[in-house]
Amino acid sequence: MSAQAQQSGGRSGTAAPAAIELRGISKAFGPVQANKNINLRVEKGTIHGIIGENGAGKSTLMSILYGFYKPDSGEILVNGLPLTITDSQTAIKAGIGMVFQHFKLVQNFTVLENIILGVEDGRLLRPSLAKARGVLKQLAEEYQLNVDPDETIEELSVGHQQRVEILKALYRQADILILDEPTGVLTPAEADHLFRILEGLRAEGKTIILITHKLREIMEITDNVSVMRRGEMVASVKTAETSPEELAELMVGRKVLLNVEKTPAQPGAAILEVRDLKLVDDEGVERLRGISFDIRAGEILGIAGVSGNGQTQLLELLGGYPEKGSKVSGSVRMNGEELDLTGTRSDAAIRRARGIGHVPEDRQVEGLIMDFTAWENVAFGYHHAPEFNKGWLMDNAAIREDAEAKIKRFDVRPPNANLAARNFSGGNQQKIVVAREIERNPDLLLIGQPTRGVDIGAIEFIHKRIVELRDAGKAVLLVSVELDEILSLSDRIAVMFDGRIMGERLPGETTTGELGLLMAGITDTENTPDSAGIPPDLKHVEDLPGGQP
């Protein structure tokens, strides 16, 4: 198989058999039709993007290709030959490699050990390791895939861990590489580096399937793109002949506004004043190292940064539930009144009473109780509110009525308040949380990763609601790892790195490049209130989860 692929460096359009061809693939889970009669042709030596909303069936399709699911009907051709893929071993033998969104690496094994795991030759490890070391060196030179083979996985940055996953696939002689949402965890610089690697692989004749929901990536790197919607393949086009707007429309099935329409902010008085906020967690790690900022009424402050740089701690602290055992200092004033940060006299309920709404970063673990119905979740956090209670008992009828109204206004689908939260799609779950928090009309809305795992249609809707809240004279603190989101929503942008705010920028006067540098901890030279006095401490760059050495 591999010999066949290596000899062809051909681009799409040649008469050679496709690397992968799917004919009429269908797959149903119970009553849910995840894939309907899918036809797909991936040409050899190309980068082929597959794009679609959550639940469109992309992952199911790739799982079929990798042997995790058996299709109900249809056939798969690899390099022109029909192949029944019963398990991942068959897929690997056919030269298909998969890089999952969540890496499948043994954290305390070295790179080398991870790479040979499952493909050791013989009972003794030493010969396999020696062989792998040689192959790895060669691969690293060929594709700029440099990783120290003797480093343990937990010591590596996320970007490097991903390289190990790619190396694993290449070591198993994959000619067809499937990458599932590969850039979700990377900094812009790391993503760029990944794309250079992918281009190098393409130049060597490898075929790459890139699953993503980011239109920019599709436009930047793919040769062809296929769009999925509700289990069907709705289009396959050459990337050069399409536009992001067209792709978005194909994905959602209607016209979508990619950029948020908003008028310039009209900031009023300061709602939230944060001064020199510090937090040391129970392991003694400084998570916040002196954060100061203001948010005024009618203003969205966006906090950009690679995840894990203190944003979560900031949101939790402001939301009233810092991690157990953490020590906090500094001051936070809300509407001019000091908030209790010690945690003894305050919790999330008291913050809500103060007019702070909170859409948490992780809606499935915090924002919703997944086993509760939608209507029960609408009262979550507000279950003491007088309108939801009648004397000793909760007024379930009133909660249900409120939930149904919210479901209607926020177009939650299916519009069934009795359904458990876990049975809604990611976007609709988020709509439930956003509806609950925004419709309380908070003075300050904390919102973390508002559109993570949310489909394009719902993103547009949620962005509009956030801007509406701002226009109603409320303050919004937006934390997101999506730079596009930060750039299009924020009125001001603060970049967080290693528990500090590295600098503030205005969205119209900055670039992703500049923000990317700040996110990597490269202190700006301009004088901003927060970065002043901090020496350009470049040592930290290497310590960082997303840092580039």
Binding site: P31, A349, E376
Partner: protein
Amino acid sequence: MEKMPKWADVILTPLISLLLAAAISALVILAIGESPWLALKTMIEGSLGSSYGWGFTLYYTTNFIFTGLAVMVAYHASLFNIGGEGQAAMGGLGVALVLLYLPLPHWLIALPVAMIGAAAFGAAWAFIPAWLQAKRGSHIVITTIMFNFIAAAALNYVLVNVLRPVGSMDPASARFPESTHLPSLSDMALAFGMEWGKNTPVNVTFFVAIGACLLVWLLIWRTRLGYEIRAFGKSEPGALYAGISPVRITIIAMLISGGLAGLMAINNVMGEAERLVLNAVEGAGFIGIAVALMGRNHPLGVFLAALLFGFLYQGGGELALWTSIPRELIVVIQALVILFTGALDNMVRMPLERLFLSMRKRGGA
């Protein structure tokens, strides 16, 4: 999308599990050379065939309702309270102290006062593990099970050294005053001119147990506290986000749980023995775990499961009395029921789910 209809989940699954347990029990009885048919007949006749049998069955049922509810409430807060045995034993001490040392002229007054004593002692016994869990992170399964042993030892000491009447050789308290004796159901039936369940221990506590089922249902599904307990039980980070204090919920849920377990003493100590004896709980605290599991942590389910275990208990006793099936085998049968309805639940559930899915598919196509 639900995998199978609710009735199949709630009724069909436990029913099939039960039949499987019965079938294997039958094989075991066959293997020792006895007739399973005769055994079944003896069990049913002895526990359900007469008002006498029912009187005992319902007495055991009452015990199991309380301990089952206790496990259930804690379970909703995601706390596995294995300490029902010790909490019920302590509840007995509470009842004994109240009835022996307070002047209580009539059972109608004695009952609520004794209930307070029972619940308070049971709750207090659950408080220590709860506090250790909430504040120190000591695992509640470990601490509650250890507290069972401590309770047994403490009760032993109190009965031998403190409550034992002078001159008595029996490690038991004095008899409770006549005025505090609870009316048995047979007394109550007699008041209506009916002969029912003569000389059986089932008493007015049975109705208290049914009331407790209703109150627990209200608590869990209709009050703010119940909402907070369930939310905390499903997700602790979620509870923190919503401003629900894990410490508070852990302690309150365990207090309620321990209180319910303690209330069992109204039935066995106040209603039946009318004095405190050693090992009064007789394992009902542990049966409560199986009852809550089988009852799907719902009060109605707990009631039905308690009834089933009441039947097994009484039927098992009859079996030992009238057949040559050894007493140990009855424990085996009870264990099989617990095994199939509790631990091996998924063994029955998963094939059933597949069956329903394929049926729906065929129906829908």
